[in-house]
Subunit: 231 residues, 2 copies
DNA sequence: TGATGGGTGATTGCATACAATATGCGGCCA
DNA sequence: TGGCCGCATATTGTATGCAATCACCCATCA
């Protein structure tokens, strides 16, 4: 392992986002170090980075905890995400190349294929969806938007993980993806922005409802594994 | 010094924002450790945090550098800032308490007083202006907006530091502040948002122009010290 | 019985030693 | 003379040891 600190960062972050570490859970450095297979020093560096990203919170002399977001904070986060990704979509409508747009169209098709497939693979769907969203951000050609969203986006993902699978919701999501591609093909920024906003605000409602559904999402996730990021 | 890592973080960050460390400059850990008066360990932790915030960049085995932003990146950053703070102002228009609005009015008055004062104190003006902007963000009652802007805002500030003092620009800025207070008093979200956007996009132009003015801003700052953040 | 204080184990915070890696320079060879 | 290889030095990356701090438990006392 060439760079222990990087490995530690990746492992801990994945652990938080996958739900392995529950919200509010104390993260002990020695334990993480053993788990990752490095010493405490790179673990501490990883935790500092995660702290700056908001995924964990430090209390002096009392270590790090997985930051637990309230429903209010999640709502706020989705509002911002709707605005930021909506802005990205608007820019992308005028700046994306034809190649980028076809790639997005392709991703949308593949996502629907995965959904219809017999061996429904939620991890794959999550991955494709993530790629779809990131491609739009990149196509916006705003270098800072990328960095800004990166620190915000993945957190709600952790909650999607616990969300139940809902066929209608998934259909609506696919529908949004298709419409986004159309808007980009038409180079219609306002349209693209509006669709993206709908897309994310719809996800917001789903996530918040699923939060209310079970008070402790960390233990109530379905046996089949992760659910896709439905946005 | 109770917490070395916190001290190191504050000192290094201040050094970058004040221009003491030039853009692109290599930051050697041992040197910083001596400067701060701690060992390399807390320095490294501080650098990791600053890396996550985008103020420094790591290259494996080659240490940290003060991240140098291009004109394009600055433009992108100001676009985002206009959007985010504009959104904050819109929310604040409906959510700010009367007390908060009077506080803002007071800050605006004090800024103008400082400007007119014989002993023109740019540091004080910068401080007041920062407080003005933060108060609006807080009044938006979006907990995540605060965290998001915090990672974005201070970087342009470093460039303001190098900016030359321009009386007309300052007048326009004061004028924006007054208008913002009026919009908030009227609880007119659209108005507040529009003014805030103008305010920040005007600053964008000023900063970009001043960047063109001297190719190496790090060495061309005026002898009197910092200039205010003119937005 | 409940509160308080001290002791103890666990954990974090920091410093330092050592290993891994890059950079720069000088010599060697074509 | 010019380019390339290898060594020396500087710097980063990681591990470990020790001090500081905290949480918990239990004894003591009102």
């Amino acid at each position: 392992m060439a760079r222990a600190a990087e490995t530690a960062y990746a492992v801990i972050r994945a652990g938080i986002l996958s739900g392995e570490f529950e919200r509010g859970e104390r993260l002990r450095e020695e334990e993480l170090a053993v788990k990752v297979g490095v010493s405490r020093t790179p673990v501490r560096e990883a935790l500092r980075r995660l702290d700056a990203e908001g995924l964990v919170q430090f209390q002096p002399n009392r270590g790090a905890r997985v930051s637990a977001r309230s429903a209010q904070e999640l709502e706020d986060l989705y509002d911002l995400r709707a605005m930021l990704e909506g802005y990205g979509a608007r820019l992308a409508a005028s700046r994306a190349s034809d190649a980028e747009i076809s790639e997005l169209a392709d991703l949308a098709v593949r996502m629907e294929a995965v959904t219809k497939s017999a061996s429904f693979d939620v991890d794959e769907l999550t991955r494709l969806n993530g790629e779809f969203h990131w491609s739009i951000v990149r196509a916006s050609r705003n270098s800072q938007l990328d960095a800004l969203i990166r620190g915000v986006i993945d957190v709600p993902l952790a909650h999607h993980t616990f969300e139940r699978y809902e066929p209608e919701r998934l259909q609506a999501s696919h529908s949004h993806h298709r419409e986004l591609v159309s808007a980009l093909q038409a180079h219609d920024g306002q349209w693209a922005e509006a669709v993206m906003r709908s897309h994310i605000l719809a996800a917001r409602t789903t996530v918040l409802n699923s939060l209310q559904g079970h008070s402790d999402p960390g233990t109530a996730r379905v046996a089949s594994g992760k659910d896709p990021q439905a946005s």
